[in-house]
């Protein structure tokens, strides 16, 4: 009879030890959080998690491996308004998480109140991108970040001014030391950290992703829309399609292509031709990801279309002919001899149903991608910097 009692007593002691251990650990965590933020920063290699069907053709420069501490710093910098001339704008101003990292505007206002020349691009699955901007002029996220930071009509501050502001803060030199080994703040280190954070913005949990994993059954409209999306029209064989997948195909709905999609016969914005000087590049722009497309209005490089209905109408009825119109859009129609898709109203509705399947609410609500202002203000209260 004594044996069970003894056993019980051992259990009690053990659970007491476990409970006190948990309390000690909790106390340590809280104490760390309130004493020195540097100790609470996660460190080590950053492990990217994404579906196998996204493929491994990812783009991480050899001189900027992704680390947990780098991503931590990058997130702070992404939302850091001190990187702008008026201390009011951050990357997150034009790339808001709730709008799949766009700003809901055709063109965005910079520090000088002037408008940007092109629409703010959605940020998702950049880990797989190799060319950035509407004209693909940047070949890395590191290189890309420098433009909006220094453009007088965007964040409008020289890299040196940003370096000075961050160097004067009490928070950043220590953070840079954790990430780079010493507390020196440089422009390159700023953009490298921002790029690291941006690479973690992976959207892979839309209803479309779930359908590809066999964990979501699409509605009849979504299914029909998906079929139209993936199929090219062939009126002679009585096959109807919208051929969207020609440029937006695959599980990522992004293929890194650049096309003239017939917006104008004489484009006001020359697109890639402004860089290459080639007539064939006139009005040629990046084909953006369709991830979260329902959240990223207005559409096109100049934000001319307010709704997805307008976008579908464009491809269905309003393709403008020109010598540089991409070949796959020439005479692509559901009607024999037609010059644009000519979709039926019902088909447009079905296509829209499919496009709505690409919304990833887990992505826009992921706390790891949000503005760490609360954490930041905690640090700032402790160590006033301005």
């Amino acid at each position: 009879m004594k044996y069970p009692h003894k056993k019980q007593s051992n259990y009690s002691k053990r659970s007491l030890r476990v409970i006190s251990g948990i309390f000690a650990l909790l106390f340590a965590i809280v104490a760390l959080a309130f004493t020195n933020h540097k100790d609470s920063i996660p460190t080590g290699d950053y492990q990217f998690t994404y579906p196998a069907n996204f493929g491994n053709r990812i783009n991480i420069p050899a001189d900027n491996p992704t680390t947990q501490q780098g991503v931590y710093l990058g997130r702070l910098l992404f939302y850091e308004t001190r990187l702008s001339a008026n201390n009011k704008l951050s990357c997150g101003s034009c790339h808001q998480q709730a709008k799949a990292f766009t700003d809901g505007l055709a063109l965005s206002k910079g520090v000088d109140d002037s408008l940007s020349t092109r629409n703010s691009m959605s940020l998702a699955n950049l880990l797989w991108a190799r060319k950035f901007f509407w004209d693909g002029r940047a070949t890395s996220l590191e290189n890309q970040a420098t433009f909006p930071l220094t453009n007088p009509h965007e964040m409008g501050q020289t890299i040196q001014a940003s370096v000075n502001k961050l160097s004067q803060s009490n928070m950043y030199p220590g953070l840079f030391k954790v990430v780079y080994g010493d507390s020196s703040i440089t422009g390159l280190r700023i953009v490298k950290a921002i790029a690291q954070f941006e690479r973690t913005l992976i959207s892979a949990n839309s209803r479309y992703d779930q359908y590809l994993k066999n964990s979501y059954t699409p509605t009849p409209d979504e299914l029909k829309g998906m079929e139209l999306f993936n199929r090219g029209p062939d009126p002679e064989k009585n096959i109807r399609g919208a051929n969207c997948a020609h440029c937006h195909g695959g599980p990522k709905t992004y293929m890194e292509l650049f096309h003239n999609n017939g917006l104008d016969s004489l484009p006001a914005d020359q697109g890639i031709a402004a860089i290459t000087g080639l007539a064939g590049d006139k009005g040629r722009f990046k084909v953006p990801t369709l991830r979260n497309i329902a959240l990223t209005a207005p559409y096109m490089h100049d934000g001319r279309f307010k709704t997805l209905d307008e976008v579908i109408d464009h491809y269905s009825e309003h393709i403008k002919q020109s010598a540089s119109l991409s070949s796959f859009l020439q005479h692509e129609s559901n009607e024999p001899g037609g010059t644009s898709l000519k979709l039926l109203p019902k088909e447009k509705k079905q296509l829209l149903a499919f496009l709505n399947m690409l919304t990833d609410s887990a992505f826009i609500n992921n706390p790891r991608f949000s503005d760490p202002k609360l954490v930041s203000s905690l640090h700032q209260n402790k160590t006033p910097t301005q």
Partner: protein
């Protein structure tokens, strides 16, 4: 008064000139760059292409009709650039491939033996004409034409780069 007319005429002519000045920003000549694992990188214009032996390939396009394409066998261009074709295409050189890139960002790959006469008689050319005419602007000025391949997906249009790469 004459002076005033002169000034008016001058300013009007300036307005008339400006659109053509704009147009001059898009009048550069397209080239195909041959880069990567080559001894002599090349930059080939349409005129340069005429200096090579011309070959004709007849194949169907997406319209389902046969078309006659004229151009230069890719291996001739790669040999001129000093790529390891012919007798050199053995050993580790068999792990090299040709990455073709177009101005729209589209890319396709050919393993080097697919292009070499010692391995195949199938002609793969860099074409610049279709049915005796220059390629349409949206297709050209350079397009790879693969003889007999069932799908036209590797008949890549608007070619800008031929890059020889070692598989890693």
């Amino acid at each position: 008064m004459k002076k005033l007319y002169f000034i008016l005429a001058l300013s009007l002519s300036c307005f008339m000139i400006s659109p053509s000045a704009n147009a001059q920003t898009t009048d550069k000549t397209a080239v195909v760059k041959v880069t990567g694992e080559v001894a002599n990188p090349l930059s080939i214009t349409e005129a340069d292409l005429q200096q090579y032996k011309q070959t004709i390939v007849i194949r169907k396009d997406r319209d389902g009709k046969d078309h006659t394409y004229s151009g230069v066998i890719l291996s001739d261009i790669l040999t001129k650039a000093g790529a390891t074709m012919g007798n050199d295409l053995k050993g580790e050189n068999l792990t090299k491939y040709l990455l073709v890139e177009a101005s729209d960002g589209y890319q396709v790959v050919f393993a080097l033996p697919e292009l070499d006469k010692a391995y195949t008689d199938r002609a793969i050319i860099l074409a610049d004409t279709i049915d005796g005419k220059p390629l349409a602007p949206a297709d050209g000025p350079f397009r790879v034409i693969v003889q007999d391949e069932k799908r036209p997906a590797r008949c890549i249009k608007q070619v800008t780069t031929l890059k020889i790469v070692f598989a890693k």
